[in-house]
């Protein structure tokens, strides 16, 4: 494996790993806050136990997120020193604010996890909320930094020099809003479906139904609201990409030739050598509409972009298909769920619906990773879009492949241990959190 490929793979692996944990860290505090609030209001022990059970899980995820994030802040320099040398001062603003947000988050987490019976109970609740809000803020900030790589702003690029640097303008670049919105919704959707699915599975197995049903409901409502808004926000993103990164849009849709009106491709097999797509379903004019809001608009194809600036088309296209496909599926599940709620139906006797939720456990996260693949691979060959090439940014140090292997092994084993710990937490629910006899909740 050559050093450049190894560096890219290591970066992708580290980010793909971190994102899972950071999303959980961003979203779970809100689920806990709801459950905690219900406990403070209703005095129902089950809610207190649920909050505690979740908080154990969050502590595990949070620590993993924190160490993998630390890793990332060094890795940017370890792998891409030439990029950081120039980009650091420009896109550093969100990172320095993020530092504050992390700090507050870590402090609040200390209070929350260790504050049971030690703090005023509303202050305790409040510290939990602070964890969530600062987590969300740090997510938005770091995505603003990534958005800058897609849509550089806040400096003038003259003769290879970066002049008139304005970090504030860099932070509020053209892409930050659409990306941050889509990312936050994705975090809620992915984590919501994963959590709801696990509890749905326990309900299906008839284990501690009262406990798991309460947990399911909180997670499912968040997840389904997220999944319904996701396609709308995705549409905003797509229009945005069409404007600022036509090459990425063309790669997402494997549009080799400029067309007017352009069709939307669903599925299909991309042949990168011959620049063709076969076996795709074509919806005439739909891409023109999605990209520009007009069924007759022209959409730029890859033929208008110099060959040495083409992103890898196949990966981008497949990843985009996966994300949108899953997005549509999750939206349908959400519609069914809300329809059922509106009709006051109980989900407990709709086993097929619970099974759908179980099916969706990994889907949100798959879509999330796919979405980032679209964004990051679709930006290639640029590390700073239109300014610096990724190949020019890589570290001169040889042997990166070994560090890639080491980190793959570390991340793999960490994932294994986290899954194992979670499994054990769930196994302990009947002994630690829910000792009550099964009450009859089928009529609720």
């Amino acid at each position: 494996m050559d050093d450049f490929l190894a560096a890219r793979s290591q970066m992708a692996l580290s980010l793909g790993f971190h994102i899972v944990f950071s999303c959980i860290g961003m979203v779970m505090p809100f689920f806990m806050a709801v459950s905690h609030y219900k406990w403070l209001r209703t005095d129902n022990e089950l809610y207190k136990n649920l909050t505690k059970a979740w908080s154990k899980g969050v502590a595990i995820f949070f620590a993993t997120g924190a160490v993998s994030g630390t890793m990332l802040s060094f890795e940017l320099g370890l792998l891409w020193p030439k990029f950081m040398e120039h980009a650091g001062p420009i896109f550093g603003m969100p990172f320095s604010l993020e530092g504050t947000a992390f700090f507050i988050e870590a402090i609040a987490l200390g209070f929350f996890l260790y504050g049971w019976n030690k703090l005023n109970k509303w202050f305790h609740w409040f510290t939990g909320m602070v964890v969530g809000v600062s987590g969300l803020a740090s997510g938005i900030l770091v995505v603003a930094a990534n958005a800058w790589m897609n849509s550089p702003a806040g400096f003038d690029f003259v003769d290879g020099k970066y002049l008139n640097i304005d970090p504030i303008q860099a932070m509020f670049n053209k892409a930050w809003f659409s990306q941050a919105l889509h990312m936050c919704l994705a975090a809620f959707t992915a984590t919501g479906f994963a959590v709801a699915g696990v509890h749905a599975l326990m309900i299906l197995r008839n284990k501690n139904k009262a406990f798991h049903f309460k947990a399911f409901k909180i997670a499912a409502v968040f997840a389904c609201i997220g999944a319904l808004l996701q396609p709308l926000s995705g549409d905003i993103s797509a229009k945005d990409v069409a404007k600022r990164q036509p090459a990425k849009l063309a790669a997402m849709e494997a549009l080799y030739k400029t067309e007017k009106p352009a069709p939307l491709l669903i599925g299909g097999i991309v042949n990168e050598q011959e620049k063709t797509v076969t076996a795709a379903i074509k919806i005439p004019g739909a891409l023109s509409f999605l990209a520009h809001g007009d069924f007759d608009a022209e959409v730029k194809g890859l033929d208008q972009i110099p060959e040495n600036e083409h992103p890898p088309v196949a990966i981008t296209h497949y990843a985009f298909q996966v994300m949108v496909g899953i997005g549509t599926l999750l939206m349908i599940i959400s519609l069914i769920y809300f329809f059922n709620l509106a009709r006051k139906g109980s989900i407990l006797n709709k086993r097929w619906l619970l099974k759908l939720f179980v099916l969706a456990i990994p889907l949100g996260y798959i879509a999330l990773e796919a979405g980032w693949t679209v964004t990051e691979v679709g930006r290639q060959p640029w590390i700073i879009y239109g300014i610096m090439r990724t190949a020019d940014a890589v570290t001169p140090m040889p042997g990166i492949a070994y560090s890639f292997y080491i980190f793959s092994a570390i991340y793999l084993s960490l994932s294994g241990v986290v899954a194992f710990l979670l499994y054990r937490q769930i196994k302990m629910v009947p002994y630690v959190y829910d000792k009550t006899a099964e009450p009859d909740i089928n009529h609720k």
């Binding site: 595990i60 620590a63 160490v67 890793m71 504050t100 402090i107 570290t395 140090m397």
Partner: protein
């Protein structure tokens, strides 16, 4: 504004060294505790550092963010030439943080704990060792930006007597800080005596490794003695550190545990000051005699201005909250 930024950078490094160092030290203490006392040490330690380790760890992130935003050239030079020790330190950080949390939150106590404990102890040792190696390498003048073979560019930059001695010295200081910290966290007379013993050993180790640092500096022709002793600030810092050490052992015998921490922290800060003052604001010394200083690599004006503002704003939000965290979870003195 650059002074604000530099102050925060120094503060970040110092606090990570003190607070994070004490966290690592706790693991080192556990490593050197006999098997029959380990579970007691573990328990004391858990209560002492559980609520604060994640916040302590943030000082490292703050320092690194300040470096890459404000002093990108320093950050990238370190990243390139100290790639290997940084990588090992990071693996240590990952292993330690996760093992610490996993072993506490694992719902079932069984053989897995054997593994968590091992990982926790060894990574608590390795991480500060490499942290010290990195710190030593930065000022050792072994970083060779003109090197054209792998070993001299990426290995000898940090694998030399001086850096390794600084690493070992760091480990012993961390152990010392932790032992002093833990004395105040237990009521049990037996445990207290154990931690006092540990503090003594760590203190002796620190003196030995400290001497080794000077010897290595002489071998490697690093003017460490000049920095420390031919400079009024360096000299007084060392004198103060030594005096406070005497006071510290006196107070220890009297059982005044809370002041001890401040003294131990003070002592370590003085040692850092002594080493770094003379060549401040130079940050990295290169093999060809050049230095990379904080001032000649400062980022653009607007960046430094907004970074400084962000840090000031952040500290207004953070410090009261953080103080309350430490206050709330420290053991009450009867």
């Amino acid at each position: 504004m650059e002074y604000v930024v530099i102050t925060f950078l120094c503060l970040g490094i110092l606090l990570y060294f003190l607070l994070g160092g004490a966290d690592f030290g706790a693991g080192i203490i556990e490593l050197f505790t006999s098997a029959k006392n380990r579970s007691r040490t573990r328990k004391t330690m858990y209560h002492a550092i559980g609520p604060v380790w994640e916040a302590n760890h943030m000082w490292l992130i703050i320092a690194i963010v300040i470096l890459f935003v404000g002093f990108p050239h320093i950050y990238t030079t370190m990243s390139v030439y100290l790639h290997i020790p940084l990588l090992i330190m990071l693996i240590g950080i990952i292993a330690r943080g996760t093992a610490f949390v996993f072993r506490h939150y694992d719902a079932i106590k069984d053989d897995m704990h054997w593994l968590y404990n091992r990982i926790f102890r060894y990574s608590s040792f390795i991480t500060p060792l490499f942290l010290g190696i990195i710190a030593g390498s930065v000022i050792s003048g072994h970083i060779d930006t003109n090197a054209n073979d792998f070993l001299s560019a990426y290995v000898f930059s940090w694998l030399n007597w001086f850096s390794v001695s600084v690493g070992l010295f760091t480990v012993s200081l961390c152990g010392f800080l932790a032992a002093i910290y833990l004395i105040g966290e237990t009521d049990d007379g037996h445990d207290k005596r154990r931690f006092i013993k540990k503090a003594e050993y760590m203190n002796i180790a620190a003196v030995i490794f400290g001497a080794m640092v000077f010897i290595a500096a002489a071998i490697d022709k690093i003017p460490l003695i000049d920095w420390v002793f031919k400079n009024p600030v360096g000299l007084s810092a060392i004198v103060l550190a030594s005096l406070s050490l005497i006071l510290l052992w006196y107070l220890l015998l009297k059982g005044k545990t809370k002041v001890l921490r401040i003294l131990a922290g003070f002592q370590v800060s003085m040692i850092l000051l002594a080493i770094s003052y003379a060549h401040f604001p130079n940050f990295i010394r290169l093999k060809n005699g050049d230095t990379i200083s904080l001032f000649n690599t400062l980022g653009p004006e607007k960046t430094i201005y907004s970074l400084g503002l962000a840090l000031l704003l952040g500290s207004v939000l953070i410090l009261p909250f953080l103080g309350y965290l430490f206050y709330k979870f420290q053991k009450k003195e009867e």
